[in-house]
C-alpha cells in the first residue's frame, strides 16, 4: 500500500526543515524524507549519536540546527530519517529505501530540497588517500569529531576554506596553509554584499582572526597543482593563478609538507528530482550550474513541484531557510487554494538580504574556464570509472557533441555516483570544445538516484509471486 500525504519534502537540510514545518503549521499532512540519521543536512548537521561532546559551544550552525530539529519535533511533520529516495515518478510517487526495504508514498505537492554536491576540479594526485572534499571534511569535523589529518592544507575557494580551517585549529589540529583561488580584492569587492549579513561577516572575520593568531599562512590567488605521496598525502605543490584561475606558466611551485589536503571548488545544485520529473532546467554558472526553472513561488515548470534551497541555485544556508519557509507557504496555497497569513513580506525581505550575501559567495565559487583548461590530459576526471581528460577529449574528437554521447563512448559518469561527482567538470570540458555548457547539456537523470543494494530492494520473495509478463512471441 502506498501511504498518501498532502505534501512530501525530500531533503532534511535548512530548506527542507523550514518547508515541512511551515506546511504542517498550515494544517496539511507532510512527510519529510531524509537520508541522514537526523535532519539537519550538511550545514546544520547533527552530531553522530554518542559523540555529543566536543567544542560545539558557541557554534551558530549547531544552535540553529538544534533549534530547527526542536521545531520539527514539536510539529506535526512526519519524519522518515535514514530513508534514501531512489525514484520519484509522476503523481509525485516517491520510492525510498529504508531499513524495511523499499517503501512508496504519494503526495499532491512535492518539495525538492536536495541541496548540493561538492565540486572538486581534478588535479594531479587528487585521488590520493588523504585528499578530502571541503564539504566532506565538515562532515568529519561536525558529525564525527574527526580531524582529516594532523597537519592539513586547506585549499579551494569560498567561505568554507576559513570555516574548515577554523574548525581544524579549534579541534586541536594544525593547518599547514590555506590556499585560496580568489584574491584579496575578490573578497574586498564583495564586502558590501557581505555587510548585508553583519552576523555572518563578523563570524567570518572571527575565523580569520583566529587563523592569523595561530600563524596559518595564506596563499591567495593560488591553487594546488599536484599532490605528492603514493599511499598517503605527503606534500602538495602550490602555484599562483591568473585572473581566470589558470596556473601561471613558468612559476616554480612551493612544496608544502602535510598529511592531508582538504579541497573544494564550490558547490553544484542537485537536480536529480527535478530532472527525473522532467522539469525545465537552465544553466547559470553563478548559481553553480544547471538549475530547475522556478517562479517567484518556488514552483517549477511541473505544477505542484517546488524547489527550495541550494538545489535550486546556490545562495547558502540562510537563504535556504527563508526559501524553505516561503516555499512552504506556496505549497499550502497550492493545496488549499487560499493564502496563509502575513509573514510573507518579512520572509521576502529576509530572503533578499540572505541572497545578497549568499549570492556573492556563490559568484566567488563559480567555476572559471581557466580551472577547466588547467586539467591535464592524463588527469582522471571520473574517478568511479577512471576516465581521463584525454579520453573525454578523444570522444569529442570522434564526434560526440554532448555529454551523454561522450558518456556512452567513455563510461565517464557510469559508475556508482552516476556523474554526481564528475558531471559538472566533465560537462565543462565538453563545453569548452562544443560551444558552451548549454550545447554540452547535462547527464540524463535516471533512477535509482542513489546506488540501490539489490538484496535490500528485493527482500524475501517467492518466485511464484514475481508478476512475470506473458511470454514474448516465438
Amino acid at each position: 500500500m502506498t501511504a498518501r500525504f498532502e505534501a512530501i519534502v525530500i531533503g532534511g537540510g535548512p530548506a527542507g526543515m523550514a518547508a515541512s514545518v511551515t506546511i504542517a503549521a498550515a494544517g496539511h499532512s507532510v512527510l519529510l524524507v531524509d537520508e541522514a540519521a537526523a535532519p539537519g543536512g550538511q550545514v546544520y548537521r547533527a552530531t553522530f549519536p554518542g559523540l555529543d561532546a566536543g567544542p560545539v559551544q558557541g557554534d551558530a550552525d549547531r544552535r540553529l540546527g538544534d533549534a530547527w530539529r526542536a521545531r520539527l519535533r514539536g510539529s506535526a511533520v512526519q519524519v522518515a530519517s535514514e530513508h534514501v529516495v531512489w525514484e520519484v515518478g509522476e503523481g509525485f510517487r516517491v520510492s525510498a529505501l529504508g531499513s524495511n526495504g523499499s517503501v512508496s508514498w504519494r503526495a499532491r505537492a512535492l518539495v525538492a530540497a536536495t541541496g548540493t554536491t561538492e565540486r572538486v576540479v581534478p588535479f594531479k594526485g587528487w585521488t590520493t588517500p588523504g585528499v578530502f572534499g571541503l564539504a566532506g571534511a565538515t562532515v568529519m569535523l561536525k558529525a564525527q569529531m574527526t580531524l582529516p589529518g594532523q597537519n592539513v592544507v586547506v585549499a579551494g575557494v569560498g567561505p568554507l576554506l576559513a570555516a574548515v580551517a577554523y574548525k581544524i585549529v579549534t579541534s586541536g589540529g594544525r593547518v599547514a596553509a590555506i590556499v585560496d583561488l580568489s584574491s584579496a580584492s575578490d573578497w574586498l569587492g564583495r564586502l558590501p554584499a557581505m555587510a548585508t549579513r553583519p552576523d555572518l561577516l563578523a563570524r567570518g572575520l572571527m575565523w580569520m582572526a583566529r587563523l592569523l593568531r595561530a600563524g596559518v599562512p595564506f596563499h591567495r590567488r593560488s591553487t594546488i597543482s599536484a599532490v605528492h605521496g603514493a599511499a598517503r598525502v605527503e606534500a602538495v605543490d602550490i602555484v599562483p593563478v591568473d585572473g581566470d584561475r589558470r596556473p601561471i606558466p613558468g612559476r616554480q611551485p612551493i612544496s608544502m609538507p602535510c598529511d592531508a589536503l582538504v579541497i573544494g571548488h564550490g558547490l553544484v545544485p542537485q537536480t536529480d528530482v527535478t530532472g527525473l520529473l522532467g522539469a525545465l532546467h537552465r544553466f547559470e554558472v553563478a548559481r553553480g550550474g544547471w538549475i530547475a526553472e522556478r517562479d517567484g513561488n518556488f514552483e517549477t515548470t511541473i505544477p505542484g513541484l517546488f524547489i527550495a534551497g541550494d538545489g535550486g541555485g546556490i545562495f547558502g544556508a540562510a537563504a535556504a531557510t527563508a526559501q524553505g519557509e516561503l516555499a512552504g507557504h506556496a505549497v499550502s496555497r497550492h493545496l488549499s487554494g487560499h493564502s496563509t497569513a502575513g509573514e510573507i513580506g518579512r520572509l521576502r525581505r529576509q530572503l533578499r538580504r540572505a541572497q545578497r550575501f549568499g549570492g556573492a559567495m556563490a559568484e566567488l565559487m563559480a567555476l572559471r574556464d581557466g580551472q577547466v583548461d588547467a586539467i591535464t590530459a592524463d588527469c582522471v576526471v571520473c574517478r568511479c570509472e577512471d576516465v581521463t581528460r584525454a579520453e573525454i577529449d578523444a570522444a569529442v574528437d570522434a564526434g560526440a557533441t554532448d555529454v551523454n554521447q561522450m558518456k556512452a563512448w567513455t563510461r565517464c559518469g557510469m559508475g556508482p555516483c552516476q556523474g554526481r561527482s564528475c558531471g559538472d567538470v566533465a560537462a565543462a570540458i565538453v563545453g569548452l570544445r562544443v560551444g558552451g555548457r548549454v550545447v554540452a547539456g547535462k547527464f540524463t537523470v535516471r533512477p535509482p538516484i542513489r546506488p540501490l543494494p539489490i538484496g535490500k530492494l528485493t527482500g524475501r520473495f517467492d518466485y511464484a509471486d514475481i508478476p512475470i509478463p506473458k511470454p514474448a512471441p516465438l
Binding site: 525514484e87 515518478g89 570522434a398 560526440a400 557533441t401 554521447q405 533512477p447 520473495f461 508478476p467 514474448a472
Partner: protein
C-alpha cells in the same frame, strides 16, 4: 531554395544500427550517402539496448539472419574496423517451473529446427555450465552461439567507420516532409534545409510510422518501452548469457564487472516524448527475477535503470522493402531483437540496392504486408 540543396545518391533517415549499416555498405559500394538523424548517432535503441546477441530470445523466422548477424558482431573489428566490445560465450535459457520447462522444450525445438544449436540440459548440467546459476533450475536450453555487445559503443564504432567510408553524417537534423522531385525525392528538414536524393531509406525504428506518412503510407508501428538496469562493477558472478523460457529476462556480466539486467519489462514512454519513467513494480519484478536466477547478485547494487524504445510491427516481424508505389523509398526496421539480427538484414538490403546477389531473401519481410488501408500511391498534396 532550389539549387541550394545537397544532392546524394541515397539519403538514409535514422542513424541507428540498421541505418548506419546500410549507409556504411552503400558508401563502401561507391554511392554518395547522407545518414540523417533527428538526434545523435545510435543514441536510441541501438545505443541503449541490453546488447544481447542470443538465439534464445530470437523469433524462429529470424534465426538464420541472427546466426549470420552474430558472426558479423563477433568479427566487427574486421569488417566494421572498430570494437563494439563483443564477447562470444555460451547461453542458457532456464525454466524454474514445469510450465516453463514445457514452454522451453517447445521453443528450443522450433529454434533448433531453424538452425540454432540449442540442446536441452538438466539443472545439474546447467549449473556446471554456469556456476553462478540458481540451484532451482529444472531444465535449460543450452546454446553455444551466444554473446553480447557493449551497445553504448555502437555509435562511436559506426561513426568512425562511416567517416572513413566517406558517408556524410547529419545529426540533429529532423526531417519533417518529403517531396517527389524530377530525379528522386527532396527531404525537408526542420529549419529549412533540403536534401535531394535519388533513393531514400527509412530506418527509423519506432519512428517508421511517422516516416512512412511522409509518403502517404500508413505503417502502424507499436512502441515497446523496455526497462533495463545495470549494477556497479562486481567480482565475477556469472560467465554466460542467461535468460528464462518466457524471454522476460536477459542477464550477462561485462568484462569490466557490471551486470546488465533486461528482458523487456515495460516502462512509460512513447515515440513523441521518448522514454519517460520506469515503473517501479516492473523494475522490482525484473530485479527479483534476475537475483533469483543468479543469487549472488543479491550482494550487488543497482546504479542505473533506463528505458529503450523498441519497434514492433503487427506480426512482430521486420518491415523491409519498398513502400508501395515508391520503388525508390525503402523501409528497413522493426526487426524483433533488432540489435541481434539488424546488421545482417541491413547489409542484405544494402547489397540488394547495390545490385549484388544475396544469400537470403528479404521477401518474407516485405513491408507491403503491413501497409494499412486504401493507400494512394501518390504523394500527399
Amino acid at each position: 531554395m532550389a539549387g541550394a540543396h545537397d544532392s546524394v545518391d541515397v539519403a538514409v533517415v535514422g542513424a541507428g544500427v540498421i541505418g548506419a549499416t546500410i549507409a556504411l555498405f552503400l558508401a563502401r559500394g561507391g554511392m554518395k550517402v547522407a545518414l540523417i538523424d533527428r538526434g545523435l548517432i545510435c543514441r536510441q535503441a541501438s545505443g541503449v539496448n541490453a546488447g544481447t546477441l542470443t538465439m534464445q530470445m530470437t523469433r524462429v523466422a529470424l534465426i538464420p539472419f541472427a546466426l549470420r548477424a552474430h558472426h558479423m558482431w563477433a568479427t566487427a573489428p574486421q569488417w566494421l574496423g572498430h570494437e563494439v566490445g563483443v564477447v562470444v560465450c555460451e547461453g542458457l535459457s532456464v525454466a524454474f517451473t514445469d510450465g516453463e520447462a514445457e514452454l522451453l522444450a517447445e521453443r528450443a525445438a522450433k529454434r533448433r529446427t531453424a538452425g540454432a544449436p540449442i540442446e536441452l540440459v538438466d539443472g545439474a548440467r546447467a549449473g556446471q555450465i554456469e556456476p553462478g546459476l540458481s540451484d532451482q533450475v529444472k531444465l535449460a536450453g543450452h546454446c553455444r552461439v551466444d554473446g553480447f555487445a557493449n551497445a553504448y559503443l555502437t555509435g562511436i564504432a559506426y561513426r568512425r567507420a562511416l567517416v572513413d567510408a566517406g558517408a556524410s553524417i547529419r545529426e540533429n537534423t529532423r526531417i519533417v516532409a518529403a517531396e517527389e522531385g524530377a530525379s528522386g525525392y527532396v527531404l525537408r528538414a526542420q529549419g529549412g534545409a533540403m536534401i535531394a536524393a535519388r533513393r531514400v531509406v527509412l530506418a527509423g525504428g519506432v519512428w517508421l510510422q511517422e516516416m512512412a506518412a511522409w509518403f502517404g503510407q500508413r505503417l502502424p508501428i507499436k512502441c515497446l518501452i523496455n526497462q533495463l538496469a545495470v549494477t556497479e562493477r562486481l567480482a565475477p558472478v556469472m560467465r554466460t548469457v542467461l535468460g528464462i523460457a518466457s524471454g522476460l529476462l536477459s542477464l550477462k556480466q561485462y568484462p569490466h564487472g557490471t551486470v546488465v539486467i533486461g528482458g523487456g519489462w515495460q516502462g512509460i514512454g512513447d515515440p513523441v516524448h521518448g522514454p519517460r519513467a520506469i515503473v517501479p513494480e516492473n523494475f522490482l519484478g525484473n530485479v527479483r527475477l534476475a537475483s533469483h536466477t543468479v543469487p549472488r547478485l543479491m550482494s550487488g547494487r543497482i546504479v542505473r535503470a533506463w528505458l529503450g524504445l523498441e519497434a514492433e510491427t503487427a506480426d512482430a516481424l521486420p518491415a523491409v522493402g519498398a513502400l508501395p508505389g515508391h520503388p525508390h523509398v525503402l523501409v528497413c526496421g522493426s526487426v524483433h531483437s533488432g540489435y541481434t539480427s539488424g546488421p545482417y538484414i541491413a547489409k542484405l538490403l544494402a547489397e540488394q540496392m547495390l545490385g549484388h546477389a544475396a544469400d537470403l531473401s528479404l521477401q518474407p519481410f516485405d513491408v507491403a504486408r503491413l501497409i494499412e488501408g486504401a493507400n494512394s500511391p501518390t504523394m500527399p498534396p
